[in-house]
């Protein structure tokens, strides 16, 4: 390796780095910064909703908060966190020296910070930030949009380009750089879920880019893609958006499935139950994600045949998802369980994600959805799958691999406190939202009827608790990296399997410069 053997020092190390571990770390730190920012927006929302009536902010700003909260959390926090884990872990899990396209890897990360600067800067522009929701439905996002919508569009374009580059890199790495003997059906589940996720990303990010390009043209170049007056159709926007948007929610959750599939076997001290069925279930979920998009828009006036098709197709996704949940539970069955922080978060994921899955099934019922549509029930549902699903699994993953990454052990007690405060805070926040939603409270409103006051106050208190618990997480991670107890065991967790646990701890800057001989089998 010669000149590339050791990292250069100072800022240039991070700016010019092509090392997958450096870039993975950058992604994860960036994502945590965005998580804090998106969380701050959520705190503003919950503070306004603490009591009925208009208290703190005006309705326009409220709408900007919900919009930016959604965009920052989805595109800035959750997706980059998983890309960071992928960057750091996939090469060491498959025995590759680095990602396949290291320079493109650098570019795809460094596109992100300016992009989010662009997006968040709209808050300070005349007319304010976009306030049309992260879904950006036309004509709210075209005819009635603030001038800053153009910045939103460019931000989506650039973050899409970044995601596509990241995904091409991941696919190219997994398909071409596996160590000899690392067959596809021996790959760790995390690698499998990311392979499938990356395919989803390259398929649908261009669709989103197309949709926002049409918005751009409608706004600035007098086209009428989404304008009925010129022969276009605003409903077309919803179809295109959700053709992207539904696979997008699986892009968010599939890597989470991967992380959980690594952690549960470790702390059950048993191999993952039903490895191949996990792979097939993941592929089935990914395939079906392309044929269910219109369940987000049952109320636009589809023909009954369309409603039925999308309803049954959506319900069908519960089958492979159920297979996965069954396999995780069965992995734990009669295992020698221990409950370190990663396992707590994984079990929390399992319970809460399943609740989110059930409310998803309720929403999939077309006739019932006319009642639930655009209520807080939907908000409760997708926070159960996105926060308790994706965010819990990211947290679990960070605790799980942090000792390997840093060579230091995090504070277990603080980790457990973080889990319990998060778990309780999360449920206080979002469980009551099921009730107010079923009772008819619409989403994206800065004020609400008096009958919802108590549950909303509970939600807000829960949100503040959950928000504060993330500060504990940040402190724990920083304290570990800076001054945690040194721990140089190769296998931090005695039940862990996989190539990443065969390299020294902390992981050296370069690993697997000569491919390992794969004796490990992901199934065992």
């Amino acid at each position: 390796m010669g000149a590339h053997a050791e990292p250069s020092s100072g800022l240039s190390r991070w700016l010019y780095t092509t090392n997958h571990k450096d870039i993975g770390a950058l992604y994860m730190w960036f994502s945590f910064a965005m998580f804090i920012l998106g969380g701050a927006f959520a705190m503003v929302i919950r503070a306004e909703l603490f009591q009925p009536g208009m208290q703190l902010i005006d309705p326009n700003f409220y709408n900007q908060m919900t919009t930016l909260h959604g965009l920052v959390m989805v595109f800035g926090a959750i997706m980059p966190a998983f890309v960071g884990l992928a960057n750091w872990l996939i090469p060491v899990m498959i025995g590759a020296p680095d990602m396949a396209l290291p320079r493109m890897n650098n570019l795809s990360f460094w596109l992100l910070p300016p992009t989010f600067l662009l997006l968040v800067s709209t808050l300070f522009m005349e007319g304010g930030a976009p306030g049309f929701g992260w879904t950006a439905y036309a004509p709210l996002s075209t005819t009635y949009a603030p001038p800053s919508v153009t910045f939103f569009i460019f931000a989506i374009h650039v973050m899409g380009a970044s995601s596509i580059m990241g995904s091409i890199n991941i696919i190219a790495t997994i398909m071409n750089m596996r160590a000899p003997g690392m067959d596809y059906m021996k790959m760790p589940m995390f690698v499998w879920t990311w392979l499938i996720t990356a395919f989803l990303l390259v398929a649908v990010m261009p669709v989103l880019a197309g949709a926002v390009t049409m918005m751009l043209m409608d706004i600035h170049f007098n086209t009428s893609f989404f304008s009925a007056a010129g022969g276009g159709d605003p409903v077309l926007y919803q179809h295109i958006f959700w053709f992207f948007g539904h696979p997008e929610v699986y892009i968010i959750i599939l890597p989470a499935f991967g992380v959980i599939s690594e952690i549960i076997p470790t702390f059950s001290r048993k191999p993952l139950f039903g490895y191949s069925s996990m792979v097939y279930a993941t592929a089935a979920i990914a395939f079906m994600s392309f044929i269910v998009w219109a369940h987000h828009m049952y109320t636009v006036g589809m023909p009954i045949a369309g409603e039925l098709f999308f309803m049954y197709a959506t319900m069908l996704i519960a089958v492979p998802t159920g297979v996965k949940v069954f396999n995780w539970v069965t992995t734990m069955w009669r295992g020698s369980l221990s409950f370190e922080t990663p396992m707590l978060f994984a079990i929390g994921f399992l319970v809460l994600f399943t609740i989110g899955g059930f409310s998803g099934l309720m929403l999939s019922i077309a006739p019932a959805d006319f009642q639930y549509h655009d209520t807080y029930f939907v908000v409760a549902h997708f926070h159960y799958v996105m926060v308790a699903g994706a965010v819990f699994s990211i947290t679990a993953g960070i605790y799980y691999w942090l000792p390997k990454m840093s060579g230091r052990m995090y504070n277990e007690t603080m980790g457990k406190v973080h889990f319990w405060v998060s778990f309780v805070g999360f449920n206080i926040t979002f469980f009551p939202q099921h009730f107010v939603g079923l009772a008819g409270m619409p989403r994206r409103v800065p004020d609400y009827a008096l009958q919802f006051a108590d549950f909303n106050m509970m939600s807000s208190i829960g949100a503040f608790i959950y928000g504060m618990s993330q500060v504990l997480f940040l402190y724990n991670v920083v304290a570990t990296v800076v001054a945690g107890k040194l721990d140089n065991r190769e296998k931090t967790w005695d039940g862990a399997n996989g190539l990443e646990w065969t390299i020294p701890t902390p992981a050296p800057y370069h690993t697997f410069e000569t491919p390992p001989k794969v004796v490990h089998n992901a199934v065992q």
Partner: protein, 177 residues
């Protein structure tokens, strides 16, 4: 197909081309497909945007369909826009005439565009317009009004359970500014 001898480059090129195809498909596949499906299935209550070339069909005198006309203005379109009659009873297969009245109450020359929608949406594909002001935009001088003709046939294949069909027009301001 192989683009490069380096397998990593080869995979990357294929994936890049795939993203380009997906991006282009939004414009060149999804939109035409959506329009074709909407036309074919009458989704969204969209009626055909071109004139129906009337064939002499026999009139089904056995049943009468109630046809209602509704008009509305999009957002801040200032014209007055009304149907001449709000309800007619017609026989399927028969050719019917009616007209709508638009009045530009502003002091400026403006151009309007009416966009039709049929409810229930299942009826859209049986609502044939042989002549409609909605096929073209409607310029109107300041403070003038116009009678805009509509000539339509309700297809005699209209499902029997549909007794009432509502034709709604939304008038948009498409004046170039």
């Amino acid at each position: 197909m192989q683009f490069s001898r380096n397998p990593v480059t080869d995979t990357s090129i294929k994936l890049f081309l795939f993203t380009c195809v997906m991006g282009a498909s939004v414009f060149f596949v999804m939109i035409p497909l959506y329009n074709v499906l909407c036309d074919a299935l009458g989704i969204n209550g969209k009626t055909s945007g071109v004139a129906y070339t009337a064939m002499t069909t026999e009139v089904d005198t056995g049943r009468e369909i109630q046809v209602q006309f509704i008009t509305q203005n999009n957002s801040d379109m200032p014209w007055e826009f009304d149907p001449s009659t709000t309800i007619v009873r017609v026989n399927p297969g028969a050719l019917n005439d009616t007209y709508f009245i638009a009045k530009n109450i502003t002091d400026q020359h403006m151009i309007g565009q009416a966009v039709p929608s049929v409810s229930p949406s299942r009826a859209a594909e049986y609502f044939h317009k042989t002549e409609c002001f909605c096929f073209e935009s409607q310029p109107l001088d300041a403070n003038s009004s116009v009678e805009m003709p509509l000539r339509f046939i309700i297809d005699k294949d209209l499902p029997n359970d549909i007794k009432t069909v509502t034709l709604s027009y939304t008038l948009f301001d498409i004046t170039e500014r």
